[in-house]
Amino acid sequence: MIRNSTSILFAMLACSITQQANILNVGVEGIMLVAAFAAVATSFFTGSWVLAIFAAIIAGVLIALIIAVANIKYKADIFAVGMTVNMLALALTKFANHNILHASGSFTSQDIKPIPDVKVAALSGNAVVDSLFNQYNLMEFIGIILIFVTGYFMYKTVFGLRTRSIGMNQMAALTAGINVVKQKYVVMVISGVLGGLGGAYLSLGYTHMFTENMTNGRGFMGVAAMFFGNMNPVLGWVGCLLFGLLDSVGSQLQAYGIPSQLILMQPYIITVLILSAVLIVRKRKKTKLQSTNAGEA
């Protein structure tokens, strides 16, 4: 379950950060895909998974910048740009897969150096503890750490405060002297980094290969998880776990004849319900405030 949810986790974090600034980054799918490719290619050619992670980050940032420039400077609709970038990423990685890695569909090789699992010698004595703590990939740890790092940044630092203020009331941020444009760019770059890490995990941690369209909607699940957690990284993580859980439960329940699809759709439905509930409450509050309370006049 942790494995399943980790790639969604990175996507969710990438989205949460930008959404705080009111930027709906649906392009995270494309960011992850390009990063995944960059990671595999680099690992293959250089034999170093460290370099591969760097490559993934750079790739992610580049794609994020494309989205950022199109949206911030050229006022392109953020949703359109995101979807288009996803399309572009699909095409670019497919092309690169064919022409750089000379593979079709999937690319695997013994020379791909994956991101290692973390094994703590001290814990490997006991079989139970070992299976609980020692089977996890480095990225999975990093992912969890990043949840709290993101949370810290968002809610305790100057940077986070300013980003959140932009999302809530851009005018208020402007009149407080904040450079809104610069802040938005920075936020997108960070999103690119996070998405890049997610992509690297996908192709070098969760699997050890590159497959065309390997993100397969995980970016969007990240978006959904982000809405589920209302931009809060920790709550969003719950959403990721939910998606991951239902995904693995789904495949197991199939053995009992319960179709996986019915399970898979639950997190989406739940998110929609939560979103609606929040807004219904808000509307009731507003109506009350504007009333003359004629009954008591």
Binding site: T157, M168, N169, A172, A173, T175, A176, Q290, T292
Partner: protein, 508 residues
């Protein structure tokens, strides 16, 4: 020049696309005083202070702050010089806490963390010193308006403001909150801070100010010490007269009541615009003018009668039928036409053409459509007629109405509203933002409508217009009617008093 003067603005001119907002304006501020800047809507007082705070740059003029002279300000510089402004619209992020909003942009740091403890301490000092009660931990969305205003004040103090500009601060406050605000302002004054208090509420201004400056139509009128001036005098300075665009008034008899508003209560986003018990009667063949400074419930009244706003209590009776809270279209069909005050929002579809806007109220009726299909030819012909009759430019039925000047667009809207069968016409601020030529046309439309035996409810912040066109005048203040006068009995002084809250009742 008084040594105590810390700010001096002179020779200020500011032209906006359609209107000259400030015409040779001046203003000065002394240390440790509360100086009120008053005038009607559009007088230029907000603009003047926005120039001081750096939101706008003047076309010409000089701004002196302390010993330095500036041709123009920007907000950053203004803040550095110790000027702070609390706008009419609060600049707060709703989801953040009060504390977070206050420190936004000037956050104290401890390494990479925000030093909330230090911030809290500093803010609490201000809070204590001036009696600004706020709850630092609440989210802005959960605090009442009065508290939000205190937050905005602390925001300015936190950035080191020694001069505070408050733009219509009491507009959103209840009477009790206003009392509290005045306590705070006096505390600030005692500490040597200076306050500019922009308002149009004369009784408040008389209570809190040391000096008062009056502006009118962008021009500087006069400055006086509070002791030397009275409310009626201020009212007269505020509303004075300019060129009389009068229309012929004929003596007429009051005939049947066609529209009756009975003790209605109407909600509003702003406290002082909530209507709490208005009653009016409008008769056939008369123009009833509603005078009053903008923001006292006029919009709410018009919207309540036309069906765009809820009527929480009371009744509106048109031709004997109760129409309150009915669907706007049904009210229209019952005989009411409405020229809205904000034509861009309620008056037209900006992206539609002239002809499409002209038929907006009748497109579903014959002859403009039959069985759901629009009859383009008839629509075109009708549009061509209207354009000719009212001299609308550019004279092209297909042109997008967004390309028309304010005056021409308004003529289109008027033409639409008076076409067809109706008994009552509500005209809200009909000549706002309109050129002189179009003003004449529109006023003629109103008087002709009256002469045809219809009833007209004219709502206008332009007192000249009210006086020129109305047969009777009712004055609205803070959601209530303070008095109703016959046109020939209305003097500037009486109107000024009514518009600022004094009540005079005529026997009806």
């Amino acid at each position: 020049m008084n040594d105590n003067t810390i700010i001096e603005m002179s020779g200020i001119n500011k032209q906006f696309p359609l209107v000259k907002a400030i015409d040779d304006g001046k203003f000065d501020l002394r240390a440790g005083e509360i100086h009120s800047l008053i005038g009607e809507n559009g007088a230029g007082k907000s603009t003047m202070m926005k120039i001081l705070y750096g939101v706008y740059a003047p076309d010409s003029g000089d701004i002196r702050v302390g010993d330095s002279h500036y041709k123009a300000m920007d907000t950053k510089k203004a803040i550095e010089l110790g000027i702070g402004m609390v706008h009419q619209e609060f600049m707060l992020a709703e989801g953040l806490t009060v504390l977070e909003n206050i420190i936004l942009g000037s956050e104290p740091k401890k390494g990479s963390r925000i030093d909330f403890a230090k911030a809290r301490e500093k803010v609490e000092t201000y809070s204590r010193d001036y009696g600004l009660e706020i709850d630092l931990n609440k989210k802005v969305i959960d605090i009442p308006v009065g508290e939000a205003q205190r937050v905005e004040i602390i925001k300015t103090l936190y950035r080191g403001a020694k001069i505070l500009i408050l733009d219509e601060p009491t507009a959103v406050l209840t009477p009790q909150e206003t009392v509290n605000l005045f306590k705070i302002l006096n505390a600030l004054k005692e500490d040597g801070k200076s306050v500019v208090f922009i308002s149009h509420k004369l009784n408040e201004v008389m209570e809190i100010s040391d000096r008062i400056t009056v502006m009118r139509h962008g021009k500087y009128i006069d400055t006086a010490n509070k002791e030397d001036v009275s409310i009626p005098q201020l009212a007269q300075m505020m509303v004075g007269r300019k060129v009389f665009l009068g229309a012929e008034k004929r003596s007429h008899e009051i005939t049947d009541t066609v529209l009756s508003v009975k003790d209605i209560y109407v909600p509003s986003e702003r406290e002082h615009s909530k209507i709490r018990g208005i009653s009016l009667d409008i008769h056939k063949g008369e123009i009833l003018g509603i005078a009053g400074i903008d923001g006292n419930g006029q919009k709410e009244l018009a919207e309540a009668v036309s069906g765009l706003r809820k009527v929480e209590r009371g009744a509106v009776v048109l031709n004997g039928k109760e129409i309150q809270n009915m669907n706007p279209q049904k009210i229209r069909m019952a005989g009411l036409s409405y020229i809205p005050e904000d034509r861009n929002v309620r008056g037209m579809n900006k992206s539609f053409s002239i002809k499409e806007n002209l038929v907006a109220d009748c497109f579903y009726k014959k002859p403009y459509s039959s069985r759901g299909v629009l009859n383009r030819k008839k629509i075109d012909n009708y549009a061509a007629d209207v354009i000719k009759k009212y001299d609308i430019r550019p004279a092209d039925t297909d042109i997008c109405i967004a390309n028309l000047s304010g005056g021409n667009a308004q003529k289109v809207i008027c033409a639409r509203e008076i076409d067809g069968d109706f008994d009552v016409l509500i005209a809200a601020q009909p000549t706002r933002g309109v050129d002189i030529g179009s003003i004449e046309v529109i006023r003629k439309i109103l008087t002709e409508t009256r002469d045809k035996g219809k009833a007209v409810l004219l709502i206008s912040a332009d007192l000249d217009e009210i006086l020129a066109l109305s047969d009777r005048i009712a004055v609205i203040y803070e959601g209530r009617i303070t008095g109703v006068l016959k046109a020939d009995e209305a003097t500037d002084i009486k109107l000024g008093l009514l518009m600022t809250g004094e009540e005079i009742y005529e026997k009806e």
